[in-house]
Symmetry: D2
Subunit: 305 residues, 4 copies
């Protein structure tokens, strides 16, 4: 046990001693205000052992990590019919590209780029009675507490400047792959991204993907193990935009990043791990976070590969 | 003079005897209701001689032909500064493609594709006090009468289904190449497209481009001849979406088409000619209209080339 | 043990009872002659247990599976310097696309598309004294026997019709990412693809990737475990052209396919498995092979995810 | 008459007094040796009046201007069947792009980009008994003398470094849009580009396009006026790679440029004009040449528009 505490401290010291290029996400004004030097990490084994370091208890905006939650909810709702509306291939383009969407006539490449997540939100909007409430409830159940909230400032900030996402939703609608009004879909989409969570909370929620569908809080089966396997596969191939191959290559774990600087990854059957540091590299992933996870899996010499 | 009357009648008979594939524009519900077999033509020489045939007096929705009017107004307003915001190259992509816009970071390829015209409308919105009124006034002055009006049904129809254009405007805004709110720009853009004109009225207005900038109604200079030359050049290279090369090749005149089925073309120093027939080919240009103009220039053995 | 024999038989019966659309690779005349209904499978656990079914002993052209061997050799030769010349991202485009190569100025997206493998062959050509001999020797050592040979008919057939690959090699050369003459590089590249192997032989060779770098024949360490982890990661994200995401999603194993109809996959630390059936789906991967592997991992309820 | 002499002198002085950015074509080693500051111009009216300035008598490599000659020969040979193999649309991509070729499955966008000219050369190779001799003879007849020759150094230089063109020819072959061996087609293609001509000779040859198909030397009809009209249209829409719209906009004449620094343009029914200066702008067109032609048409206030 002591070893892991020391390992996380070593990692913290190493990533803080290196000067990482990049900058905090600036397209969402509210996000641009965060201290770029923050760094937190939380490691949670499936047996419950937990190790933390740095700013692991500080909440940050989960942003695109929400795409894993909404996909899970959509699969809970309509099962494999999700895949009639979204593909599962890596995109090879930046997260907000409209090029492939045009070539593939409104079918997003996968559920973890913005266009895909917007379609997933459209599904939830059609299926759920109170989408926002049920989304929060889903996270609360995963987390075993109801303290996690959405951040209204972030939500409004994104909504007022989200031209690229408005473009995307209307583009998809023009191909008839949205059932609801684009404005309503985006309102829900921005809401899902605006949740604040800490590394500890994120790693805890992602036990779901480390424990083959079992909820960490009380061990009940939350999602079919076969569906968890597929979500993990998509996290591995598509979780880091056009840096997904690089992450698989260097870290070797399924995971998901957000422009708030969070990254969460899992070794199925073993552990979940969440890191946070706001400064992003040029692909839009946390610079220190990527570095920390590479140090971690290299040190423990264990990955899914 | 008799010859031209007969020539237009012959052309009318020929295009009506051929079965043209294609269909009326369906993405704007109001346009889809038009009788696809209509055909009108009006030929007007710079000396005032005029020849007509078919449904030449019936008004139709000018749609993208408006892009020539708005460009002319923008050049009147801010001159060559227009070209800081829009390029002058043919696009090689469909009229509503977002691909090139992404590669060129929000600078539309030319002012005659939708994205380009949206930027032009943004310029007018910033420069004019009452954009809609001044736009109508511009057309009234060109036409020497104030009978031409916008069609509210078309305007509302486009507005309610214009997802692709909403996507485009927000996409351009995300690259910071719109100064105004995308919604306001689109409202004006849809308005400019919703004008109803007949072949006779269109050919008369386009005398401006046949007479090197002089207004047909009273002969006053309306636009600098050097600017008219440039607008004519853009009509030749970009007036027919990704069928522009084909039109130059087969017809050999600068011109502009709209999805309402209208096409207007000019031989600078000689004549203007407008045709209308609602059925569109797969590139979005009037099928009978393209055919009629090819017959015309082949017969008179005279083009700018 | 009996269970696995029965499982493979069941899989064989199931895939043979379904009519798979698709056809045998036709662009290489010699490949087009193979009986499309053939099917073989070989499953080999890291402890040596082996189970086979169908045409598991019949040799076929490994084609793109060779890309895993040449990449392994290049990493043995120059280590991480390989990654200066080739990227590790999924391509999102067909295996022989030149589009991304143009956008990325001659740097292939990954070593498992044709362009990437051509660059890898260029590296080997520069590094090795007798590339063809050493390539065969590499496979012989992995296989613990020297019976595997290259197929001259296939080699000549590819060479005479390989216009797309000639295009690709010269295109890369124009970006200065080939050191040798394109013709020499292609000669070696076609040679590496022209090896004939059976399912049993392939699964045996790929124990290297199941056993973290140890050679199955005598247990010596052949490649660094950390490098094996990375090659496995690239197989997972890029091993099946633009169906890689689908394979990860449905099967959940690192693997590699070839247009000869072979697919080989590994569960690191557990087993390797090779299947063969010549009829290809529209993405260029064995139709029955994909089906068989999906049945297998679904049945044993065990994947890396 | 004196005015035109003075005008050309003024233009020469103006373009020489400005510092144009850019550099001599470097991908063909032999071309890189030329003095970048050279400038020549020749203006020839259809009535025979001729005005020259600068290095108008110095021969240079015509390069892509040859594409107009080969297209004319192909139309002489097989007429409109040419258009089954090549399109007539502007490309919106650099002259040596392979992207559009992939999207359009081997049909080049137009005959004035490299891929299109390679297909045209393939046609000539199939149609002519002695393609190289007949090509030279065609130019000799147009020029009324047999002094124009091909430049062996340039030819060999291109052939040894023409990787991009080899890529293109093999790519087209892979789509089955070449009948002959790619190597043979390229040999002829490089030959056609390797002709040396002066401004005077080029403007003289291009009288064909100013005189609606009549040969300047003896007035005989060389090509159908209707075909000349079409070739002129393609020169206007496609003659300057992805700067074609800009040239039409600024200069307003059909024309063709080459990476040797030559540009030749025509005003049908009026005159032909050739300029030469080796330094190229970033689009691959002569920097001084573009400038000179813009000055010329702006001054004489006369273009086809």
């Amino acid at each position: 046990m002591k070893d892991y505490n020391r390992l996380l401290d070593d990692i913290l010291n190493t990533v803080n001693s290196v000067k990482h290029p990049g900058s905090v996400a600036s397209y969402i004004p509210e996000l641009a205000k965060i201290d770029p030097d923050k760094f937190g990490i939380s490691l949670q084994f499936v047996n419950g052992e937990t190790y933390n370091a740095g700013d692991y208890n500080e909440r940050f905006s989960i942003q695109s990590i929400s795409k894993v939650f909404t996909l899970s909810m959509a699969i809970q709702s309509i099962g494999d019919k999700v895949w009639d509306r979204v593909d599962v291939e890596p995109s090879g383009d930046p997260f907000n590209s409209l090029v492939q969407l045009e070539h593939e006539e409104g079918i997003p490449r996968n559920p973890f780029i913005n266009s895909g997540a917007i379609v997933i939100c459209d599904i939830l909007l059609s299926e759920l009675d109170n989408p926002k409430e049920e989304y929060l409830k889903f996270i609360h159940e995963l987390n075993g507490s109801d303290k996690i909230k959405y951040n209204e400032l972030i939500y409004k900030s994104e909504k007022s400047k989200g031209y690229r996402n408005i473009a995307m939703a209307n583009f998809i609608k023009s191909f008839k792959n949205l059932d609801n009004d684009p404005e309503d879909v985006l309102d829900f989409y921005f809401y899902t991204c605006s949740i604040d969570m800490s590394c500890v909370e994120l790693a805890w929620c992602f036990q779901l993907f480390a424990q083959h569908g079992k909820q960490a809080a009380d061990g009940t089966l939350f999602l079919d193990p076969n569906q968890i396997k597929r979500i993990n596969a998509i996290m591995l191939t598509c979780g880091f935009y056009d840096e997904s191959g690089e992450f698989a290559f260097r870290v070797g774990l399924p995971g998901k990043s957000g422009v708030g600087g969070g990254i969460v990854a899992v070794h199925p059957g073993e552990y979940s791990i969440a890191v946070w540091s706001p400064k992003l590299n040029e692909k839009g992933n946390s610079a220190k976070g990527m570095h920390a996870l590479e140090l971690f899996t290299t040190h423990i010499e264990k990955s899914i590969f």
